[in-house]
């Protein structure tokens, strides 16, 4: 059993963050945007836990729990907004909601 370098853990978190960022920038569907945000938050939490494992402290895991709470609150409001937008505009294209008028 060989040891995993600290950098590899951070690299995995960075790759996941990059994939989420690409999804956030490239996709137009509002549901995919929300999923990409979940991937981004998850990658950030993974980086915290990797750091917690590096130092053997619990603080990183506490930060992961806070990120989890924030993601849960964000996704509930975000999905309610998605329902509203779909109800009003009959589409989930993010280009359709770029007008900012009733």
């Amino acid at each position: 059993m060989t040891q995993v370098p600290f950098e590899h853990g951070l690299l995995v978190a960075a790759i996941l963050f990059g994939i989420g960022l690409i999804g956030l920038l490239a996709r137009r569907n509002l549901l995919f945007l929300l999923m990409s945000i979940e991937i981004l938050l998850n990658a950030a939490g993974l980086a915290f836990v990797v750091a917690a494992s590096r130092w053997g402290q619990a603080d990183g895991q506490v930060m992961f729990i806070f990120i989890l709470v924030m993601a849960a609150a964000e996704v509930s409001v975000g999905l309610a907004l998605v329902l509203q937008i779909h109800h009003a505009l009959k589409t989930l294209d993010s280009d359709a909601v770029s007008q900012l008028r009733g």
Binding site: H8, I39, V49, A73
Partner: protein
């Protein structure tokens, strides 16, 4: 000091990255959700291997369970509009991804450069037990717990309010 199981770490990480790539590349939201659940389960495995069993359980229960159930419900309700938008179909996913992906590759390359220049440190893999996490959570970070509870309450009220307005509009229309 126990070392992190390297095979488990790399297998779980590979599955997580592969599944996350498939999430972003899917056309249908339901297929993307299935891959996203796989991705969250794999990240839960990574967390477990890294010596964080409590957080790994939270990842599976809350991310792969609760949050994904919300997504599945909303995807069911908006199902006809959840296919790829006309703009995506016109551009083609690869062309749309080319710009962000190339910029992202530069970032990843730079990150690899910076990280490989740093002195190597192995992950300890010491298991941080739920007891220690709870002691830190309700000791040092107890103010954060209060703030998190207020955030959850505001999220609850906000989601309820947004959902309620839609019901009212339905009633007025009928």
């Amino acid at each position: 000091m126990t070392a992190v199981s390297s095979t488990g770490f790399y297998v779980f990480s590979g599955v997580a990255i592969f599944a996350t790539l498939l999430v972003v590349a899917q056309r249908s939201a339901v297929h993307a959700l299935l891959y996203l659940i796989v991705s969250f389960l794999a990240i839960g495995g990574v967390l477990f291997v890294l010596g964080a069993p409590f957080v790994a359980a939270l990842e599976v229960i809350i991310y792969a369970g609760a949050i994904m159930v919300l997504f599945v419900f909303v995807t069911m309700m908006v199902s006809p509009g959840s296919e790829a938008s006309p703009a995506e179909a016109r551009w083609g996913l690869l062309r749309a991804l080319a710009g962000p992906a190339s910029i992202g590759c530069v970032l990843v390359w730079e990150l690899v450069q910076v990280l490989s220049a740093a002195p190597g440190v192995a992950l300890s893999g010491n298991v941080v037990s739920p007891k220690e996490v709870a002691a830190a959570l309700f000791g040092t970070y107890v103010l954060g717990v209060e703030l998190a509870s207020m955030l959850l309450l505001s999220g609850l009220v906000g989601a309820y309010h947004l959902g309620r307005r839609m019901l009212y509009r339905d009633r007025e229309a009928s």
